[in-house]
Symmetry: C2
Subunit: 153 residues, 2 copies
Amino acid sequence: MRNPAELTDAFRAKGWKVTPQRQLLFRLLHDTDRHPTADALFVEASGQMPGISLRTVYQTLNDLVAMDELHVVNIGGSTRFDPNTAAHQHAVCSACGTIRDVYLSGVDGLGVAEVDDFHPQRTRITVTGVCGRCADLTPTRRPTGSHHKENQQ
Amino acid sequence: MRNPAELTDAFRAKGWKVTPQRQLLFRLLHDTDRHPTADALFVEASGQMPGISLRTVYQTLNDLVAMDELHVVNIGGSTRFDPNTAAHQHAVCSACGTIRDVYLSGVDGLGVAEVDDFHPQRTRITVTGVCGRCADLTPTRRPTGSHHKENQQ
DNA sequence: CGCCTAATCTGCACGAGTTGCGAACTCGCA
DNA sequence: TGCGAGTTCGCAACTCGTGCAGATTAGGCG
């Protein structure tokens, strides 16, 4: 997504107001490389602005998604929001739930345009696996059980 | 997923019982190339077995997922279940919500194994776009508004 | 063939995540 | 500075999925 100043302009250009709540969320989202849930963002925002409503967080996230400044990530559980709108893919750790942005090679080689009777717009690629940290916790065996709770990132 | 007879054996082999409810769901799932939600399956099952519980549908679906006979598909909204366990990808129509199985070329060319400090297990690829039917309904313009409700498949 | 028990089914209540609504508030143009 | 459309907030409501407990049943055994 664009930086807070640009988003401010973009909102005003649409006749939308730029409130302190929105500005805070612009900043929080712009400064992260994670993929927070609405609730995680709400907790973070509450630290800087006690009294902000979870409802407002949802509202603003939905606005940003509608403006295509934010992408949604569905990997089960709550919806996650991705401020990185550049072409990239996701590596999801099945042990700890962390999502990492990755840039795979060979994406252009996919025969997406050749799908019969379909007009592709966007291709999403998610690699599920085990991140280095979780692999270290369970040497030589696949980490079936979740060693730390399913959360984070 | 395997056929109903094979699933029956697999369930018995694990000491699990094969009830009429499960057999019905085995059949419904085996005979579809769609990606039903639990509720859609419940409606379909209710037609043939009035009184079957939605709870039972969820239960059985979860069992099948645990046995890796069924894969879950998260595209927002309710969880969808995919009986096709062969390697394939999904084409999702953003207008009508239909999911179609597709077999893209070039998947092996993705640099999945090269992701730093990560042990990949499975790669999921979803192509979002507009299916032929929806494209026909909105000639020459991209179908922003949903012309028929977001549902199906 | 009927018994017995663990497995299963069902209905309901509950919990998490998300949205609808309306009253109070406020950004920002005039 | 004043006004009004746009926002925020809090709560109720809604959806999806699961926990629970009592009733039911598959299927091994005698």
